[in-house]
C-alpha cells in the first residue's frame, strides 16, 4: 500500500549559480505548459469525443469551475465536507504519531521489545483495511471514531518504521561520548537519539499525513454517520450524476493532500533546516 518509507529526501541543489532567473522562469513555466496541455485534452474530450448526452462523464473545466467551485451553495457543501474529512485526518494522524512514536521509542529500549512488536507492526500494515471495515463498524459504530481508526491503521506503520530507523541511526561514537559521560537513558534519548532522528521522523510524518488524508476519504465512504465527509459527498455526487460537483470535490481533496504535504515540508524546514540537508530550502 505504501512505498518504502524514504527517510531521507533527495537533497536539493543548493548552489546559487544554478538558480539564475531564466532557470527559475523555466521552472514555473514548464508545469504551466503541462497544465495547459492537459486542459486542452480535457476540452477536446468534453466537446469532441463525447456527445452532449454523455458529456456528464467529463464535464468541461469551465462548468466544473462555475457549478462546482463558484456556486456558493455547492462550494459551501463541499468545503464543509472537506473540513470534516480534514478533522478526521488530523485526529487520526495525531493519534498515529503519538502511538507510533511511543512504540518506536519502546522498541529501541530493548531488543526483545523490538523483536516482539515489529512483526506485528508489519502484519498491521498488511491487513486490508476494506476487509475489516465491517468489524470496525461493529466495534466503533459507523461515525467519526471509526473513520479516525482507519486513518490510524493506515498511518501508523510509516511512523513506526521511520522513527525507529532514525533512532537507531545514531553514530556509535556519539553513543560512546554519552557513555563516557555516564548519561542516563533519558538523557541519551532526549539529547541524542530524538534530535538526531528528527529528519527521519519528519519524513515519516509527511508520508503518514498523506496516507491519513487518503484514509479519511476512504473512511467517509464506509462510515456514513455524522457529518458527511468529502468521500461521502463524492460518492453521493457520483450516484446523482452531479459530475461538476464530483470533479470539484476531487480537485479540492487533492488540494488538501497538497496543502498537508507542503505544511509538513515547511515544518521540517523550520525544525531541522538549520542543520540537516534534507530540509533545507535553496540558499
Amino acid at each position: 500500500m505504501t512505498a518504502l518509507p524514504q527517510a531521507w529526501e533527495r537533497p536539493r541543489a543548493t548552489s546559487k549559480s544554478t538558480h539564475n532567473n531564466s532557470q527559475r522562469l523555466a521552472q514555473i513555466a514548464a508545469p504551466l505548459v503541462v497544465f495547459l496541455v492537459v486542459m486542452g485534452v480535457w476540452l477536446l474530450i468534453s466537446y469532441v469525443a463525447l456527445e452532449p448526452r454523455r458529456r456528464f462523464l467529463m464535464p468541461p473545466p469551465q462548468d466544473v469551475l462555475v457549478t462546482g467551485l463558484l456556486n456558493p451553495t455547492n462550494l459551501a457543501t463541499i468545503l464543509a465536507g472537506l473540513w470534516s474529512t480534514t478533522q478526521v485526518a488530523l485526529a487520526g494522524l495525531a493519534l498515529a504519531i503519538a502511538i507510533g512514536s511511543l512504540i518506536a521509542i519502546a522498541m529501541i529500549q530493548a531488543r526483545w521489545i523490538e523483536w516482539s512488536i515489529y512483526p506485528w507492526a508489519v502484519v498491521l500494515q498488511t491487513i486490508p483495511i476494506l476487509a475489516i471495515v465491517p468489524l470496525i463498524g461493529f466495534w466503533f459504530q459507523f461515525g467519526f471514531n471509526s473513520r479516525v481508526l482507519v486513518c490510524v491503521l493506515i498511518a501508523l506503520f510509516p511512523i513506526i518504521t521511520n522513527t525507529l530507523f532514525g533512532l537507531k541511526s545514531t553514530d556509535q561514537t556519539h553513543h560512546d561520548l554519552f557513555t563516557l559521560q555516564g548519561a542516563s537513558r533519558w538523557q541519551r534519548l532526549s539529547k541524542l537519539q530524538l534530535p538526531g532522528a528528527l529528519p527521519a521522523i519528519l519524513s515519516g510524518w509527511r508520508i503518514a499525513a498523506g496516507l491519513s488524508v487518503i484514509g479519511a476519504i476512504v473512511g467517509d465512504f464506509f462510515f456514513r454517520q455524522g457529518e458527511p465527509g468529502i468521500g461521502r459527498l463524492i460518492d453521493d455526487y457520483r450516484a446523482r450524476l452531479q459530475s461538476e460537483q464530483l470533479f470539484a470535490s476531487v480537485a479540492l481533496s487533492s488540494l488538501l493532500g497538497l496543502v498537508v504535504f507542503w505544511g509538513f515540508g515547511l515544518l521540517g524546514q523550520l525544525l531541522v533546516g538549520s542543520w540537516h540537508e534534507s530540509h533545507r530550502s535553496t540558499e
Binding site: 561514537t173 557513555t179 540537516h276
Partner: protein, 212 residues
C-alpha cells in the same frame, strides 16, 4: 604527555577504550587513576543540531552542572581554543580543524586531569594539524593535564610527547619506549632540529621492526 604510535589495526584505539572503560577487557586487569577522563575522539563527534556554544556545554549539561556555571565554563574553553566569535555557528559551517577545536573545548569544560586522545588530528591536513599540535601544547602548559596521545604520525608523537611508546602489529604489544628529551614549551621550529630528526628516525625504525 605520552604518545603511542603503531601501525593501523594494532590496537591503539582499543587501548584507549580499555583505559576509559568503554570496553571491558576479556582477561586481565586495568588500574587507572581516579578522576575525570577527558576523551577526544577521531571525529569531532559534535551534535549537528547544536551550536558551538551548546556543543561545548554538552558534557557539563549531562553531568548536571547548573546553567550559569556551564555557560561560564564553555565561554572560557571557547576562548582557550580560539573559537571566540563562532559561538552561534553550527558544526556544518565549520572546517575540520575548527570542529576539532570545538571537540577539545568540550572536553576542557570538565577540567580533566587525564586526557585520552584517539588520533584527533588524523583526518586534518598537515598545516592545520601542526597548528593544532602547537595549540594543544599551549593548553597542556596552561592546564597541566596528563595526556595519552594515540597517533600514527611519528613526527606528531615526537613533537607532543616526552615519552613515545611504539606498538607492534598483531599481536599488539609495546615494543619500545623512547624518551624525547626536549623541554616544554616547544616551538614549531623544533621539527627542523637535527636532534628531533634523529629521534623521529629511531621511532620510525622501531615502528618498522614492529611491523615486520
Amino acid at each position: 604527555m605520552v604518545a603511542i604510535v603503531g601501525p593501523s589495526g594494532c590496537g591503539k584505539s582499543t587501548l584507549l577504550r580499555l583505559a576509559s572503560r568503554l570496553t571491558s577487557p576479556t582477561a586481565g586487569e586495568i588500574s587507572s587513576a581516579e578522576g575525570y577522563l577527558g576523551y577526544v575522539f577521531q571525529d569531532a563527534t559534535l551534535l549537528p543540531w547544536r551550536t558551538v556554544q551548546t556543543n561545548v556545554e554538552l558534557l557539563a549539561e549531562l553531568a548536571g552542572v547548573p546553567k550559569a556555571e556551564r555557560s561560564r565554563r564553555a565561554t572560557e574553553a571557547i576562548a582557550l581554543t580560539g573559537l571566540k566569535g563562532f559561538e552561534r555557528h553550527r558544526p556544518r559551517a565549520l572546517s575540520g580543524g575548527m570542529r576539532m577545536r570545538v571537540s577539545l573545548a568540550r572536553a576542557l569544560t570538565m577540567r580533566p586531569r587525564i586526557f585520552l586522545f584517539d588520533e584527533p588530528f588524523g583526518s586534518l591536513d598537515e598545516i592545520t594539524r601542526e597548528r593544532l599540535n602547537g595549540e594543544l601544547l599551549g593548553l597542556f602548559e596552561r592546564e597541566r593535564f596528563a595526556g595519552l596521545f594515540v597517533t600514527h604520525s611519528v613526527s606528531e608523537a615526537a613533537f607532543l610527547a616526552s615519552r613515545v611508546l611504539v606498538m607492534s602489529a598483531r599481536p599488539g604489544r609495546i615494543v619500545a619506549e623512547i624518551q624525547v628529551p626536549f623541554a616544554y614549551p616547544r616551538q614549531a621550529e623544533l621539527r627542523f632540529d637535527p636532534e628531533f630528526a634523529t629521534i623521529a628516525g629511531v621511532i620510525s625504525a622501531r615502528l618498522r621492526e614492529g611491523i615486520r
